[in-house]
C-alpha cells in the first residue's frame, strides 16, 4: 500500500507541471489581454496600455513570466485576481462550497437513480423496461448540458413555475455562511422556509449536472450486474433460500458495485467540467461561473490557479476512489 501511494504521488509531479504549462499557454493564446478588457470599449491609449502591462509584469518574455509564476507557486502563493485584487485562494475557498454542494447533490442524484435504473434494467433484461431505461440513459448521455438546462428551466421554472431560475437562494433571505453549504446553513439560520427555498434552487441544477453521470452509472451498473448475476455465488445464495431482494442487493449489487465505483470517481472530472456550464446557466455562484468570468476578463492568475486547483481536486478524488476500491473489494485490500 505504501509503495502504491508513493508511486501515485510521484506521478503527480509531471501532471502538475503539465497543467500549469497548459493553462499558462492557453489563456495567453486567447486574443486580448487583461488591460484591454479592463479598458473596455474605450480606445486604448498605447502608452497607458504599456504602462499597465509593465505594472502587471506582462511585458516580460513568456518564459520569464512562466518562471515567475512557478516560483510564486512553489512558495504557495496563488497570486491575486487582477479584477478584484482579492487573493485567488481566498476567492476559491469562498466559492468552492457552492460548487461542491451542487456537485454532491448531482452525484447523489446520479448515484441513486443510476444504480436503481441499472439494477432494474439488468433484472428485466431484454424487456421493454430494459430498453426504455437504457434508451433514456443514452439520450441523457448525449444531451448537451446547456441545452438540457435551458429546456428544464423553460419547462419547470417558466411554464410550471415550480422552481426558481437562478442563484442559490432567494434574495429574501440573508444567510450567514457557516459551512458554505446553503442547505446546512439555512438549517442553522432561524429563517423560516429558507431551507426549502435553498433546496428548490438546488434541484434543477443538480439534475442538469447529474444527467450525464447518471447515464454512465446506469449503463455501467447494468452490465456489471448482468455479469455478476451469472456468477456461481448467486446460485449459492439462491440455494440458501434467501429472498430475491437479498440475493440481488446483498450478494449481487455489492459485487457489481466494484467497477461502478471506478466510474463514479472518473465522473468527478466530468462533473466539475459540467459545473462550469451548469453554473453559468443557473447563475450559480460557484467556481465554474467564477472561471468563466475570469476567462472573459483575461484574469490570468485566477484562470491559471483556479484550473490548477480543480485539477488537483480531480486527482485527489481519484486517489480516494482507489482507496475506497480496496474497501469494497477485499481481494485488493489483502494484497500485500
Amino acid at each position: 500500500m505504501f509503495s502504491f501511494i508513493a508511486r501515485r504521488l510521484g506521478l503527480l509531479i509531471p501532471t502538475f507541471f503539465g497543467i500549469t504549462l497548459l493553462t499558462f499557454a492557453l489563456i495567453r493564446l486567447i486574443p486580448g489581454d487583461p488591460v484591454e478588457v479592463m479598458m473596455g470599449e474605450r480606445r486604448v491609449d498605447p502608452e497607458m496600455h504599456a504602462q499597465a502591462m509593465e505594472r502587471l509584469g506582462l511585458n516580460k518574455p513568456l518564459p520569464v513570466q512562466y518562471l515567475d509564476y512557478i516560483t510564486k507557486l512553489a512558495q504557495g502563493d496563488l497570486g491575486e485576481s487582477l479584477r478584484t485584487r482579492e487573493s485567488v485562494w481566498k476567492e476559491f475557498l469562498t466559492l468552492f462550497p457552492a460548487t461542491l454542494e451542487l456537485a454532491l447533490a448531482a452525484l447523489l442524484f446520479a448515484g441513486v437513480f443510476g444504480l436503481l435504473a441499472g439494477v432494474i434494467a439488468a433484472l428485466k433484461r431484454g424487456s421493454l423496461l430494459d430498453h426504455g431505461v437504457m434508451g433514456i440513459s443514452l439520450t441523457g448521455y448525449s444531451m448537451p448540458i446547456f441545452w438540457w438546462g435551458l429546456i428544464l428551466i423553460m419547462f419547470f421554472s417558466v411554464s410550471l413555475g415550480w422552481t426558481p431560475v437562478s442563484e442559490r437562494i432567494s434574495s429574501l433571505y440573508d444567510i450567514e455562511p457557516i459551512t458554505g453549504f446553503m442547505l446546512i446553513d439555512t438549517l442553522f439560520s432561524e429563517e423560516e422556509g429558507a431551507f426549502k427555498d435553498a433546496l428548490m434552487h438546488l434541484i434543477l441544477p443538480a439534475i442538469v449536472l447529474g444527467t450525464i453521470p447518471l447515464a454512465v452509472i446506469a449503463r455501467m451498473t447494468r452490465s456489471s450486474m448482468l455479469e455478476v448475476l451469472r456468477e456461481d455465488y448467486i446460485r449459492t445464495a439462491r440455494a440458501k433460500g434467501l429472498s430475491p431482494g437479498r440475493v440481488v442487493f446483498v450478494h449481487g449489487l455489492r459485487n457489481a458495485l466494484i467497477p461502478v465505483l471506478t466510474v463514479f470517481g472518473l465522473q468527478v472530472g466530468t462533473l466539475l467540467g459540467g459545473a462550469v456550464l451548469t453554473e453559468t446557466i443557473f447563475s450559480w455562484p460557484g467556481i465554474g461561473k467564477w472561471l468563466i468570468e475570469a476567462i472573459g476578463a483575461r484574469d490570468y492568475p485566477v484562470v491559471q490557479n483556479g484550473i490548477l486547483l480543480i485539477a488537483c481536486l480531480v486527482i485527489l478524488v481519484n486517489f480516494v476512489v482507489d482507496i475506497l476500491y480496496g474497501l469494497v473489494n477485499p481481494r485488493i485490500r489483502h494484497q500485500r
Binding site: E231, D232, Y233, R235, T236, A237, R238, A239, K240, G241, L242, S243, H251, R254, N255, V328, N329, P330, R331, H334
Partner: protein, 322 residues
C-alpha cells in the same frame, strides 16, 4: 413414504416443444440413504437437481406429475414456501468451491446468513453456531477462519465452508453436485469422507452426483445411471457394478481405467450424447449401442424391472445370472 419422490420430471429450455434436457425422470430417495447419480456430461444430472431446488429460471420450464419432498410437492409450493425448505431441509453443495462463495463477504457472514434465515439465530448465537459448523467440517483454526474472505482459502477449505453452509440448516437431504471434481486428488478423498461422516452422523439423505464410479462403489447404496436426460438403469450398488443390465452402464464401467489394464487404449463408447437436433427416434442410446437391434431404432424402451434393477432397454444384459 420416501423422503423424495420425483415422478415424470421434464425440464425444457425454450418452449414446450423444445427437446427435454430431463425427459420423464422418476426418482426416489429414502430417508438417510445415499444415492449416486452417474452419467456423462450433458446427461441432465445437475439440471434435475437444480429443478428440485427451484433454481431453473426462464426460459427453463419444469414440469412433473409430482416432486414430493418431505411430504410437500415442491412444484405446488409458493416461492416463499419453497424458500423456507430450500437451504434448510434441502441443501446443495456445488461443483466449483472457488466460485461458489461470494468474494465480498467473510466466511462467517455467509454461514450466519443461513442460520439467520432459517433458524432465526442472530448475533453471538449465530456466530457461535457458525464456529461450531466450521469445526464440524474440520477446518483448522476455525476461530480465525470466520473472518477470512473466500480468496484467502484453498479449494478444499472453500468446499468445507460450502458444506458447512449447506448443513447449517440441518438438511434432511443434501445434494452434492460433483463436490470433488474441481479439487486436488489428495483433497477429494478427504471431502468425500467428510460428506459421508456427516451423512451417517445426521442420518441425512445424500444425493451424490459424480463421474467417479470408484467413489460410487465405495459410498452409495443405490445408483441411478442417466443418459440424455433419462434414467437408463437404477439399481443396488454391488449388483449394478457386477452385472450391469443396460449397455450404457456396462460401457461406463468398462471405461474405468482399472478395467482396461493391459489394453493399449481405454475402452470407450464411440459418439456423443445426442443433442437437440440429432435426437434419435428410438432408444436414445441406439446410435452408440454395440448391441443395437432394429426395433431399438424405432421405439423407445421404458424403465422396467428386470432381474437386478430397473432398466430402460429391450435387451437387458446379464439377466441369466439371476
Amino acid at each position: 413414504m420416501s423422503l423424495l419422490q420425483i415422478n415424470n420430471l421434464n425440464v425444457r429450455f425454450g418452449d414446450a416443444k423444445a427437446v427435454p434436457v430431463v425427459d420423464g425422470l422418476d426418482l426416489s430417495v429414502e430417508k438417510g440413504e445415499v444415492l449416486a447419480i452417474v452419467g456423462e456430461s450433458g446427461s441432465g444430472k445437475s439440471v434435475t437437481m437444480m429443478a428440485l431446488m427451484g433454481l431453473i429460471d426462464a426460459p427453463g420450464i419444469v414440469t412433473a406429475d409430482s416432486m414430493t419432498f418431505d411430504g410437500s410437492d415442491m412444484l405446488k409450493l409458493s416461492a416463499r414456501q419453497r424458500r423456507n425448505v430450500v437451504g434448510k431441509d434441502l441443501a446443495m453443495v456445488f461443483q466449483d468451491p472457488m466460485t461458489a462463495l461470494n468474494p465480498s463477504y467473510t466466511v462467517g457472514f455467509q454461514i450466519e446468513e443461513v442460520l439467520r434465515q432459517h433458524l432465526g439465530l442472530r448475533g453471538k448465537a449465530a456466530r457461535l453456531r457458525a464456529l461450531e459448523l466450521l469445526k464440524k467440517v474440520e477446518i483448522p483454526a476455525a476461530e480465525s477462519r470466520l473472518d477470512a474472505y473466500p480468496h484467502q482459502l484453498s479449494g478444499g477449505m472453500s468446499q468445507r465452508v460450502a458444506i458447512a453452509m449447506a448443513i447449517a440448516g440441518e438438511p434432511k437431504l443434501l445434494i452434492a453436485d460433483e463436490p470433488t471434481t474441481a479439487l486436488d486428488v489428495t483433497i477429494q478423498a478427504q471431502i468425500m469422507e467428510l460428506l459421508l461422516n456427516l451423512q451417517q452422523e445426521r442420518d441425512m439423505a445424500l444425493i451424490l452426483i459424480t463421474h467417479d464410479l470408484a467413489v460410487v462403489a465405495e459410498t452409495a447404496r443405490r445408483v441411478c445411471v442417466m443418459y440424455a436426460g433419462q434414467a437408463v438403469e437404477i439399481g443396488q450398488v454391488p449388483e449394478l457394478f457386477e452385472v450391469p443390465a443396460h449397455p450404457y452402464s456396462e460401457a461406463l464401467l468398462a471405461a474405468i481405467p482399472e478395467h482396461s489394464e493391459g489394453a493399449a487404449r481405454l475402452a470407450t463408447l464411440p459418439g456423443i450424447v445426442p443433442g437437440r437436433y440429432d435426437r434419435p427416434q428410438g432408444c436414445l442410446l441406439s446410435p452408440r449401442c454395440p448391441y443395437v437391434q432394429d426395433n431399438c431404432r424405432q421405439q423407445r424402451p421404458s424403465l422396467d424391472r428386470q432381474a437386478h434393477s430397473l432398466v430402460r432397454c429391450f435387451y437387458p444384459l446379464n439377466q441369466e445370472v439371476a
